[in-house]
Amino acid sequence: MEIAENINALFGRTTEQISNAPRSLDILPIGAQARVTGVTGSGAIARRLLEMGVVPGAPVRVIKAAPLGDPIEVRVRGYHLALRRTEAKTISVTSD
């Protein structure tokens, strides 16, 4: 956890520089706070994500990754959600 935060601080500047460009949720570092800008894809999973409140404008926070690095745990609308990185990739976010 701490290490992740340190790494964050180290790369803080780079993060800021590209903060306005939309990125996907899966590359956010642990502990990062961001806002959803959209969900790509058209299958059942995109629908499920939207139904569960991962819609444009919703704040998300990356809480942690599972022991083998995948899936990740995010916090959205006050609850916790586990997602694989492949699913997280379909969620675009901007840091704010």
Binding site: L49, L50, E73, H80, L81, A82
Partner: protein
């Protein structure tokens, strides 16, 4: 009562139903998973529930009667599985939706829906509510978890919420029975009144398209129907309408590629407006208790260690805690057998009762304590929220074999029983992933195998300990469980690359907050499980015991009839040559020898002899063959059959471990022991892998809607079991065991 009559009835059908005493009111509980539906259900019905099984649909839904007003009548209250939306993705959601929309035969559409809304998760819970509003059935909101929300600094204004949604909102605390009266009054008030509908709007272009659809064509449709058809998965049958929809979609897609997301996003926009008015946020602790617990339980390093420790603990306690009650049950049946034996005159009837029924059923009932403990642990793991964490920790490994993280939970509950496990696969969206999970679920060692493992271990591996506290028995059991898991992984790997080839399934899984388990729910579940088990022991196992006793007793040799009727029959089911030693005291040696012969000549004996050449390479003799055949009906019958064959009901002077001793002392024709540790191990391996449960076969048939899969399941599992057992026994012999 008066308020009911005053309420304006827009829905004439419901208004009629209200006055017709013939049909009680139907009320459904709907809500997100974990919102507190079952807790509310239990409080409202006071546990007066029955498991309703709706024909035609593969559902067991809980239904209870709710005394909705003391002077009026009771309503049928239906508890449903949790769902996030009415656009159902998985099978259990589809079932819940069908009940809500009245698409289930023999169940009328609910007269009112109680939407259970978790106050700590207001926005996501309101999504389902907006859909229910659109659907238009009379609706009341029961707001649960208000206490938890307050702890998190969320204060919810129920009046404000009710005003925005135009439906009654009743805060309830089901466990303390707070708000239940208000809830029944509100339900009675809304019956016959349509909900007003959600007032969210789409973009101008989309609204224009909707208007066009509503007015276009011959018969006009309302906004709701237009909206539903425009965004539905399937296109309508009607040619004119289909064309209109197709071209509308094309235009919408031109403006926005993700056109289909618009209503979903619009609903959340509306919800956000409502919640910003109805929710006051106070300062809350930075880290919730759940997050603090998860720092350890899903920790990169400690998480998996704790998962292993938890599983070890479960097996160890099942094995050691259950001993005392098991002894009591065993002794009780021993006494009962003695008492009945001494009360009745010797004869066929006494033998049927003592050797057949009491020995057979008692042999299985002994395992009730263990099974209850297993269900107790599974219920605790589920109720606390740890099960979802286990799925989170295990997902990467599950994905390695092409399975869904969500498959972890059905597989875990298959350790209790494959049937609820297979039914739990309904949460998996993709049919191929679901099938793959169903096909491997029976490899999880279910509670019906425990009696077999326990008997084998008690007879041949008991008493030793590792590190002073881990018994060899517990480790052996764990090894059997692991064997099942390993084979399941292998089979899943093969299936997912051959007949069930599909891309790796996605995972979107809520990690619910940790909760102190509700012991009422848990004890309720244990009671219903115990009841099922007892019913099975009283019906299937009893029937098999009687049939087996008869098959082992008849045909009776003519000589015995003449010489000494009773003695011959009493010996008839004695274990083969073994009876020569201890029966010799009571009867003439010649006769005892003949009664060993008698079992061998009986129908059961002939069947056992028939398959003996096939099972001999596994280390089994013909008597085990008899038990093996009967165990294909249900696994635990192995124990009852052995009880009947070795005739423990007769063993008056033995200790409580009568069957254990009988197994230890059983001999083959050549006088060598029938069972050795290696034979016992081979038997356990066979039981880990073989498909020996007719109820599971029936459920797989029901869930897959074809005979192909259950037959395939029986075939490949039994072949695997044979091979593994063969390798165990022959390999063991090569290594010098016998």
């Amino acid at each position: 009562m008066s308020s009911v009559l005053e309420s304006p009835s827009l829905d004439s059908q419901n208004a009629d139903a209200k006055h017709a005493p013939a049909r009680p009111l139907v009320i459904a509980l709907a809500g997100n998973p974990n919102a507190g539906k079952t807790t509310l259900f239990n409080s409202l019905t006071g546990l007066r529930q029955k498991v309703a099984n709706y024909p035609g649909v593969t559902v067991e839904r809980k239904e209870g009667s709710w005394t909705i007003a003391s002077d009026l009548r009771s309503a049928r209250l239906i508890d449903l599985p949790g769902l996030y939306s009415l656009d159902a993705a998985s099978m259990d959601e589809r079932i819940a939706r069908d009940v809500l929309t009245g698409n289930i035969p023999n169940l009328p559409a609910p007269d009112a829906i109680v939407a259970v809304v978790d106050a700590t998760n207001l926005e996501r819970n309101l999504y389902l509510v907006t859909q229910l509003l659109e659907y238009g059935r009379p609706l009341v909101i029961a707001l649960t978890m208000v206490d938890l929300a307050l702890k998190r600094g969320l204060e919810i204004d129920a009046n404000e919420l009710a005003e925005s949604l135009c439906v009654p909102v009743i805060p309830v605390t089901a466990q303390q029975r707070v708000g239940l009266d208000d809830l029944s009054k509100a339900v009675l008030r809304v019956i016959g009144r349509k909900a007003e509908g959600a007032r969210w709007r789409l973009s101008d272009c989309t609204e224009c398209e909707l208007m066009a659809l509503m007015s276009g064509g011959g018969d006009s449709i309302d906004r709701q129907t237009a909206l539903r058809t425009l965004y539905a998965d399937e296109l309508p049958q009607d040619d004119g309408l289909r064309e209109a929809i197709e071209s509308a979609r094309e235009r919408l897609a031109h403006i926005n590629v993700n056109w289909w997301q618009e209503p979903l996003i619009a609903r959340y926009d509306w919800i956000e407006q409502i919640s910003s008015r109805a929710v006051k946020k106070h300062a809350a602790p930075r880290l919730s208790t759940t997050e603090r617990i998860d720092r350890i339980l899903t920790h990169k390093f400690f998480g998996p260690l704790i998962l292993i420790a938890v599983m070890l603990l479960v097996f160890q306690t099942i094995f050691s805690w259950a001993n005392l009650p098991m002894d009591l049950v065993d002794k009780g049946f021993g006494r009962l057998g003695e008492a009945v034996g001494s009360l009745l005159a010797p004869g066929l009837f006494r033998d049927l009762l003592v050797d057949g029924i009491i020995a057979g059923v008692g042999g299985v009932l002994v395992f009730l304590p263990q099974i209850l403990l297993l269900f107790f642990f599974i219920a605790i793991l589920e109720d606390t929220g740890y099960m979802a964490r286990a799925a989170f920790l295990m997902d990467r490994l599950m994905r390695g074999v092409g399975l869904h993280g969500k498959a972890f939970m059905p597989l875990l509950s298959s350790f209790a029983c494959a049937i609820p496990g297979i039914m739990a696969t309904r949460t998996i969206e993709n049919p191929k992933d679901r099938l793959a999970t169903i096909m491997i679920a029976p490899f999880m060692s279910c509670s019906a195998r425990l009696p077999v493992y326990t008997l084998m271990i008690a007879a041949f591996f008991s008493g030793r300990k590792f590190f002073g506290f881990l018994s060899v028995g517990a480790l052996m059991i764990m090894a059997m469980y692991l064997l099942g898991i390993m084979v399941a992984i292998g089979v899943a790997w093969v299936l997912k690359r051959t007949i069930l080839k599909a891309p790796t399934p996605p995972l979107v899984l809520e990690l619910p907050p940790y909760r102190v388990p509700n012991f009422l729910t848990i004890s309720q579940m244990m009671i219903s499980r115990a009841w099922l088990f007892l019913k099975r022991a009283g019906t299937v196992i009893m029937a098999i015991s009687i049939i087996l006793w008869a098959l082992a007793t008849f045909p009776r040799p003519p000589q015995a009839n003449v010489v000494n009727n009773d003695a011959a029959v009493a010996q008839a089911t004695k274990a083969g040559e073994e009876s020569e030693t201890d029966a010799g005291v009571k009867t003439a040696p010649g006769l005892a020898g003949q009664s060993g012969e008698q079992l061998s000549q009986s129908y059961a004996g002939r069947a056992g002899h028939l398959i003996e050449p096939v099972i001999r390479p596994l280390g089994f003799d013909w008597k085990m063959g008899v038990a093996l055949i009967s165990s294909f009906a249900a696994r635990e019958t192995l124990v009852s059959t052995l009880s009947v064959i070795y005739n423990v009901g007769k063993d008056r002077d033995s200790s409580s471990d009568s069957l254990v001793n009988a197994v230890r002392e059983a001999k083959r024709e050549d006088g060598s022991p029938a069972w050795t540790p290696l034979v016992a191990l081979s038997m356990m391996v066979f039981f880990v892998l073989a498909m020996q449960c007719m109820s599971t076969v029936a459920v797989v048939r029901r869930e897959t809607n074809s005979w192909r899969w259950p037959l395939f399941m029986i075939a490949y599992m039994t072949v695997l079991a044979y091979i593994a057992s063969f390798i165990t026994y022959q390999g063991g012999r090569l290594l010098g065991f016998n």
